[in-house]
């Protein structure tokens, strides 16, 4: 087993003629927390989506847990279940209860019995601090609760890595902290995480590595201490000063 949970080497991607990712090199070690920030349209989502193969890259290699991502749908499925994903829009299944949202993957993809899956689901609902909403439908929950259910749904697959794509951007301000608190707890428990976010307070607290992207490139990469106090590039400095003003 390699030390790197995720390894991107020379990754390039185009949407038709639009060069969306330019020579991306990035390593996420086991247990490491990486936070990606950057202006809108810079390719942050695309990087994350390439890692769990919601998008295909055209050049370079992406390895998850040492296994290279290929076109083979079988490997895609097995890698996807190693990599959890939390979306900006939650993407809970509206026709299922909270409990069913959580048990669907473990039962159908992992082959767990209903009983075991429900036990696991309740454990993770506990972990995201909503133990008593199991039988509700997603629409009956607040945004913050829905996002925590989404996190629990990913955790139920017991992934090696959790990806977050702006998990708090669709939330009302008063609900942001309840989601971030859960994420901080996960980080403290040693979960490997890649988080796209503009929540710099969260980044300072948990990040082992900061990535700044602009126009499809990784412009700056570094330890949060240096990153926030002494950014090297002009673009990153400008971005940080804008975002830290709020």
């Amino acid at each position: 087993m390699s030390d790197a949970a995720i390894e991107l080497a020379g990754v390039n991607k185009w949407f038709d003629t639009f060069h969306v990712l330019k020579d991306i090199n990035l390593t996420v070690k086991n247990g490491e927390r990486v936070v990606i920030c950057g202006p809108s349209g810079s390719g942050k989502s695309t990087v994350v989506r390439c890692i769990n193969q919601l998008e295909k890259h055209q050049q370079g290699t992406i390895r998850v847990d040492g296994v290279e991502l290929t076109d083979d749908p079988k490997s895609a499925a097995s890698i996807r279940s190693e990599v959890g994903m939390v979306f900006q829009q939650f993407n809970l299944f509206p026709h299922l209860t909270v409990l069913e949202n959580l048990t669907l993957g473990p039962i159908k993809a992992r082959g767990l019995s209903r009983k075991d899956a429900e036990e696991k689901a309740r454990k993770y609902l506990d972990r995201v601090h909503i133990p008593d909403q199991a039988d509700k439908r997603p629409v009956q929950l607040s945004g913050g609760q829905q996002q925590r259910v989404a996190i629990a749904r990913s955790l139920c697959m017991e992934p090696r890595v959790l990806l977050f794509d702006e998990p708090t951007s669709a939330l009302d301000p008063e609900m942001i902290s309840e989601v971030l608190d859960v994420m901080v707890e996960l980080a403290q428990e040693g979960m490997t995480m890649v988080v796209v976010t503009h929540e710099m307070g969260f980044a300072r607290k948990v990040a082992d590595k900061m990535i700044f992207m602009d126009a499809g490139e990784i412009v700056e990469e570094g330890h949060p201490e240096h990153f926030f106090t002494n950014p090297q590039s002009e673009r990153c400095r400008k971005f940080l000063s804008q975002i830290l003003q709020h």
Binding site: N52, Q89, G105
Partner: protein, 252 residues
């Protein structure tokens, strides 16, 4: 439809006052022959219902099989879907019926197979294929109306394509698919009248045969129209009920 309601009673009134144009005796259920004729006409109902129902079920299955490649990311699959839908939609029902009933057995023969096609199955196959192009489009629209995020979320929890469709997409799409699908059933019932030309003993065929012996086309075809009207009205009441239920589900 509304206009028909206005015209028909008017015609009937006209018929009562002038016995030269109307001769209701031919289907007067109070007389011996009239009642026999009515029974003869209505007895085609069962065949019409049978053909329509079986064709509808086949079309629902076939339509899904045609729709899924149309939703693929691969251009080749999508092309297969487009070609099928455009091709089938372009063929008028009657020529397709002739081709299936008279032509298809010869195709089978040339392949060394002896598959006789009787009017019953000839009609069903034709109706199912013809309708499947429309059913496929209904599925496609319904499935596409489910946000992309649903499919992506299903994939990230390790579900494969079939599981994603079965547990995530179709259960949500079904409430958008079912009402138009049921509506499509009306189309099948009406088109099933074409089965009469290949000798299927359904409603229209019965009417035609009685017209030939009784020389009373006006009365007999009037009754025929009412037979279809009643069938269709029952179905559309069902569709409306379904739409209300699906709508209620969505809100709940």
């Amino acid at each position: 439809m509304k206009k028909l309601f206005l015209i028909v009673p008017f015609l009937m009134l006209a018929g009562c006052s002038s016995s030269q144009t109307w001769g209701w005796y031919v289907i007067d259920p109070t007389t011996q022959t009239g009642w026999t004729n009515v029974k003869f006409l209505i007895s085609g109902m069962w065949a019409t219902i049978q053909i329509s129902l079986i064709a509808a079920v086949l079309s629902i299955v076939l339509g899904l099989m045609v729709a899924l490649p149309g939703l693929s990311e691969k251009r080749g699959w999508r092309l297969t879907n487009r070609v099928y839908v455009e091709f089938v939609r372009a063929i008028p029902l009657l020529p397709m019926l002739f081709w299936v009933f008279y032509g298809l057995p010869i195709v089978f023969q040339s392949m060394g197979l002896n598959v006789p096609i009787d009017p019953f199955w000839g009609a069903i196959i034709t109706l199912a294929i013809s309708d499947s192009a429309f059913t496929a489009e209904i599925y496609r629209a319904g499935i596409q109306s489910i946000a992309r995020g649903q499919r992506e979320a299903a994939q990230t929890i390790g579900l494969n394509y079939v599981q994603t469709m079965r547990y995530v997409i179709l259960p949500q799409a079904i409430r958008r698919i079912l009402p138009p699908l049921a509506n499509q059933f009306i189309y099948i019932v009406k088109m099933s009248a074409f089965a009469s030309v290949i000798g299927m003993q359904e409603l229209t065929r019965r009417a035609n045969e009685l017209v030939v012996t009784e020389y009373r086309p006006l009365e007999i075809y009037t009754l025929l129209i009412f037979e279809y009207l009643i069938l269709v009205l029952i179905i559309s009441a069902g569709v409306r009920w379904l739409e209300r239920r699906m709508g209620a589900d969505e809100r709940g």
